[in-house]
């Protein structure tokens, strides 16, 4: 549905996007993840036909942006970083204007505008001037504009920025509903958003693609070894040595101790599940096994690993970033 090949964008001597390639299949939701200034917005602006690439090609909905930009734009809805609202128009006037320039047939313009307002929950503000909307409403009116006409491709630049937690949830729900019929690219620097809504992630840093994979694969791929968290009531004994002696276990570190209950992090060889052995060993000694769960690297860890230089993960060997990345928590 979207095909980007060797895309490069330079502003004078500054290279904002450096030879990136990726494809998005129909019905996918692709998360575009990266620190501020990584080139997310630039890539999206190229994909929406706002600006041409310096090098490379992009095909959106089957139309090359270079040869058939109008056809590609007709099939794309775009929410820019700052919602492009006209302050003097009311929400309804604004959306009707958007419907007109998007070339929606006159007969169902009104219905389309109303349904877009319903979906983004801005109908109660239909008669209000855009200038007087709160940040959350602005963002959602911008989203309504992108959804107008049900375009095949949706490109959303930080769709949840400026929303409160409830609105964020609603917006994510809305985006999830789009999966299947629509192809969505959304950019964000909020990590839980990606694991919650996206089917695939492109991590981009300093204008280069650092990793492309599903959120699950990314986290597991970068684990290197499997780690289990075990909580044992060892009746005063030290379980560490016992567990370290088991086959397949490479390392045991104490995590916490409280009232005689010991928490341990047990690392094992990659691909080897030692849970059964651990449980058998603990129960066999008459200790209490209170908790046993795999510890997974969060996407946050993956992201930091990929976008900072200290990383020693193999997948991040080509990363040139030096700055510490600021990760937004919710």
């Amino acid at each position: 549905m979207i095909e980007v090949q060797h895309l490069t964008k330079r502003y004078g001597p500054f290279t904002a996007v450096d030879d990136i390639s990726f494809t998005v299949d129909k019905g996918e939701i692709l998360g575009f993840l990266g620190p501020n200034g990584a080139g997310k917005t630039t890539t999206m602006r190229v994909l929406t036909g706002y600006m041409p690439p310096t090098e490379g090609t992009a095909v959106v909905a089957g139309y090359s942006l270079l040869d058939k930009p109008i056809e590609a734009k007709r099939r794309t809805g775009y929410l820019p970083e700052t919602p492009p609202l006209y302050p003097d128009m009311t929400v309804r006037e604004y959306l009707e204007f958007c419907a007109r320039i998007k070339g929606l047939p006159r007969a169902d313009r009104k219905a389309r505008v109303s349904s877009a307002m319903e979906r983004t929950r801005v109908a109660d503000m239909a008669a209000r001037h855009c200038a007087k909307l709160s940040k959350g409403y602005r963002q959602r009116v911008g989203l309504a504009q992108a959804l107008l006409g049900n375009p095949e491709v949706l490109i959303l630049d930080e769709p949840t920025a400026g929303l409160d937690p409830k609105q964020i949830n609603e917006t994510r729900q809305l985006i999830k509903e789009l999966r299947g019929d629509h192809t969505v690219i959304l950019s964000t620097h909020i990590l839980p958003e990606v694991s919650q809504t996206c089917t695939r992630v492109v991590i981009i840093n300093k204008g280069k693609v650092v990793a492309v994979d599903t959120p699950d694969n990314l986290t597991s791929r970068l684990r290197g070894s499997e780690t289990m968290y075990v909580q044992v009531d060892a009746m005063g004994a030290d379980p560490g040595g016992t567990l370290a002696g088991l086959a397949g276990v490479t390392k045991v570190t104490a995590a916490d101790t409280r009232d005689g209950v010991v928490g341990l992090e047990v690392e094992s060889e990659t691909g080897r599940d030692v849970r059964r052995e651990l449980a058998a060993a603990i129960v066999g000694r008459g200790w209490g096994l209170l908790e046993l769960r795999p510890m997974r690297m969060s996407l946050e860890d993956v992201f930091l690993k990929l976008t900072t230089q200290e990383s020693d993960a193999p997948a991040a060997s080509d990363v040139v970033a030096s700055e510490q990345v600021e990760v937004a928590h919710e």
């Binding site: 964008k9 502003y11 904002a16 630039t42 602006r45 929406t48 036909g49 706002y50 600006m51 041409p52 109008i70 056809e71 734009k73 007709r74 794309t76 775009y78 820019p80 970083e81 700052t82 492009p84 609202l85 006209y86 302050p87 003097d88 128009m89 006037e93 204007f97 958007c98 007109r100 320039i101 998007k102 070339g103 504009q145």
Partner: protein
Amino acid sequence: MSNILAIARKELSAYFASPIAYVVIGFFALMFGFFFYSLLLYFDRQSLQAAGQAVNVNEQFLRPVFLNATVIFLFVLPLVTMRTYSEEKRSGTIELLLTAPLTDLQIILGKFLGAMGLYAAMLAITLVHVGLLFVFGNPEWRPVVTTYLGLLLMGGCFISVGLLISSLTKNQIVAGMITFGVFLMLWVINWIASFMGPTTQQVLNYLSITDHLDDFTKGIIDTKHLVYYVSFITFGLFLTARSVDTERWRG
């Protein structure tokens, strides 16, 4: 075409949603009314002094009124055009237009027509004055029609230049000031013509935007002037299109 009209409608309603349209039209109406009145007093005295000789309302009254009125456009049209692109660039709404299935030309023509609409509204006010003249006098209608045609074309030139300058900057004030300067220059450029060599003189006279209006106010439609105005407008809009395109590449 419907795309162009959609943009034009949006531009026009933006003028009327903000104070711009009212200030510009109000100021113009005031000034034009004053011009009309003072020249009417002057014409009145002239006809008394002519004592029985035929005086021509078109030639001796309407023509000077409209030629003088062009100076008002010099002041108010920069206020009309300065926001067209600058404001969209500053607020980011240009992103909406450039990513919509519109060509640059449609956007530019839409903005041009929107500004022309406001200009036409200003001219429409003068119909009141001219109408009074038809009620109380008997001017010829043909030169009046050609005068309006000439004024529309002249305004089109100003607006196309204004659009171009607005597309070059994010700052409205800068756009307005430069537009005013350029208008003024196009206005006075033939003042020095008579001091120049024959070729330069011709070129300078030809460049002056208002010089070409003269024949229209006499009731003459000369293709020379039509060609000048139409090619001026086309060139202005063409340069605007290039400017918008360059902006895209630069990002």
